[in-house]
Symmetry: C2
Subunit: 352 residues, 2 copies
């Protein structure tokens, strides 16, 4: 694929972003604006429209961008590999559905890129950056690519961003991009350096916020208070988070009956892993969600009959709870209900 | 309203059925076929179509009935009152939604009939027969009509019947009609006699099954094992009961995680009222539901954005649990979720 919008300078870092949804596109914009690397984007369904007229992006961080195109973009992974470029960072912003079709699990998606990178330069380090929710998402990457000669680091990106693809080629970002990035292996110096380098190439001062995250697992557990509880329960009832509060029974108040005790279950599981989450963070998420007319992406996935990130946000925490003997009655129940919903979505997809 | 299909004999018992859904119409057919009373039906939305061409009824009990009309029928309660007939039995088969609009609660619906009956003959006994699900549904009737001079008995009808209105004027009955009827006040001889009389006028030997129920409250608690658990949980996930089993996670099995423990909570609440339910009945309902591709009516109500019988089947049992200090974690959670769904339906109705 030819460069659509080639850069005049040619920095020596190449970043490939996979997944052109609300998160992936703003990630691409941030890297492009910072202008410290070549940015490449894999665009699957919107490729044609973006090639023709670029993105229409309404961003609280970057303003209204019209006909915006990334430096380089590809309609699939095969063509990204065919560029014969070594990608220093392979940034994955797709949904993470380990229980979905085998060919679109994260290891399956990145496998050709890892091979291509290795073929191009077996001496260079490469970094897989997972800007995705959930816990234990790095495990399947380490398992699949456990050969040290690959020189592969896996980095964790946690992004707080209210950004959605609202139509083909149209992105709407309503919350400031706040990214924390670190190494899944906290003792891995090479990976830590790579994460710190990413902070440099990602930062747009006074616009976005990016920081090095020395405690990746702690941050992920913290965010699970939202993803495993507010996202999942609002998905069961198909409501934005604020209506989960306002439409609630007084006697059986959603906050007291569901949200708070379920968040305490997450805190308990984390504690069984020696990760101590301050209960004040419950207040942060509760207060934030009370006023937000915002449907979590899991909720939108269910509405659109698309597979949900159930395993990484709820299934994996419950596996840890089981292993460590932590009692999680509410999360068990929410998982049981959403598992039925997920099976229903799979069944509908199979019958298409 | 003139008789559409007058009977040649004129028995001295008049029965008015309110609610022309799957239950009400088959109830009307049963009474008509037994031929021991005059049968009257209030038909709201299907009145015009039934007047023109009658019902199309596919019944496992009565065969295929075409152009079938009740002896007498009315398009509303006002016209039933205007008939100047004393109704010995006022059979209510509508949905019971005490949290719905005030004008369609059961006491509001029957009030003009109670007054009209009393005006026609203050010396005669009248019977309100509630063929409806749930517990404590008689309380609002006794509260509203607590004047002994009305000579009003309240009878309980519990019907097992797989019957639905599948289109305007079209009824499909797939399960044999099994009705048990008794007095909510078990010591009330007049009411018990009236219930036994109803058995006589309802029975179609070798076709339907009707019996006198001396332990109304016990029977209602028993049926709650289905209504409070299988109906409600399948409604949360919008699935027929059999798919709640087959689409389930193995680790978090719907039967073990939800259905059985929730049924035990019902048994515990009943026990706090000195009503002992044999645990074998759990097996009966579990086994029956496993193989039934049947969506409970609550599930269909949610699909159609119609108010659900949430209070009588789940809200009232939970009030008793609270009063008696019974722990019901799963039912609390299911109630909290369905309350949100009910509020959503109310909100949509208000915005129409």
């Amino acid at each position: 694929m030819q460069a659509e919008n080639p850069k005049t300078e040619s920095p020596d870092i190449n970043v490939l972003v996979i997944g052109a949804g609300g998160v992936g596109v703003i990630t691409t914009v941030a890297l492009t604006r910072a202008n410290k690397c070549n940015v490449h984007l894999v665009i699957r369904s919107d490729y044609k429209i973006v090639k023709e007229r670029g993105y229409d992006i309404n961003s609280c961080d970057y303003g209204h961008l019209v006909n915006w195109k990334p430096n380089y973009f590809y309609n699939n992974i095969t063509n990204a590999c065919a560029s014969n470029i070594f990608f220093d960072y392979i940034v994955v912003t797709t949904k993470n559905i380990p229980d979905g079709p085998k060919e679109v699990t994260v290891p399956a998606i990145i496998s050709p890129l890892v091979q291509s990178n290795y073929g191009l330069d077996p001496n260079k380090n490469m970094n897989i950056v997972l800007i995705q929710n959930g816990i234990d998402i790095e495990k399947e990457i380490f398992t699949r690519f456990n050969d040290p000669k690959l020189k592969l680091s896996v980095l964790s990106g946690i992004q707080l961003i209210g950004s959605s693809r609202i139509a083909p080629g149209v992105i709407n970002q309503v919350g400031q991009d706040q990214l924390s990035i670190g190494s899944f292996k906290s003792s891995d110096k090479v990976a830590n350096n790579a994460a710190q380098k990413f902070v440099e190439i990602y930062e747009n001062p006074n616009i976005n916020h990016v920081e090095f995250d020395p405690r990746v697992r702690f941050s992920r557990w913290k965010k699970l208070l939202y993803n495993s509880v507010l996202s999942t329960i609002s998905t069961v009832v198909d409501l934005d988070t604020s209506h989960c509060f306002t439409l609630s029974s007084k006697e059986f108040d959603t906050e007291k009956t569901l949200f708070r005790p379920a968040m305490h279950e997450i805190i308990d599981i984390a504690q069984s892993e020696n990760i101590i989450i301050d209960e004040q963070i419950i207040e942060f998420f509760i207060n934030g969600s009370k006023t937000m007319d915002y449907k979590p992406s899991m909720c939108l996935d269910k509405e659109k009959n698309q597979l949900m990130e159930l395993e990484v946000t709820l299934g994996n925490p419950l596996k840890i709870a089981k292993k460590n003997g932590i009692n999680t009655p509410i999360l068990n129940l929410v998982y049981t209900l959403l598992y039925l919903e997920q099976s229903k979505i799979k069944q509908k997809k199979d019958s298409l």
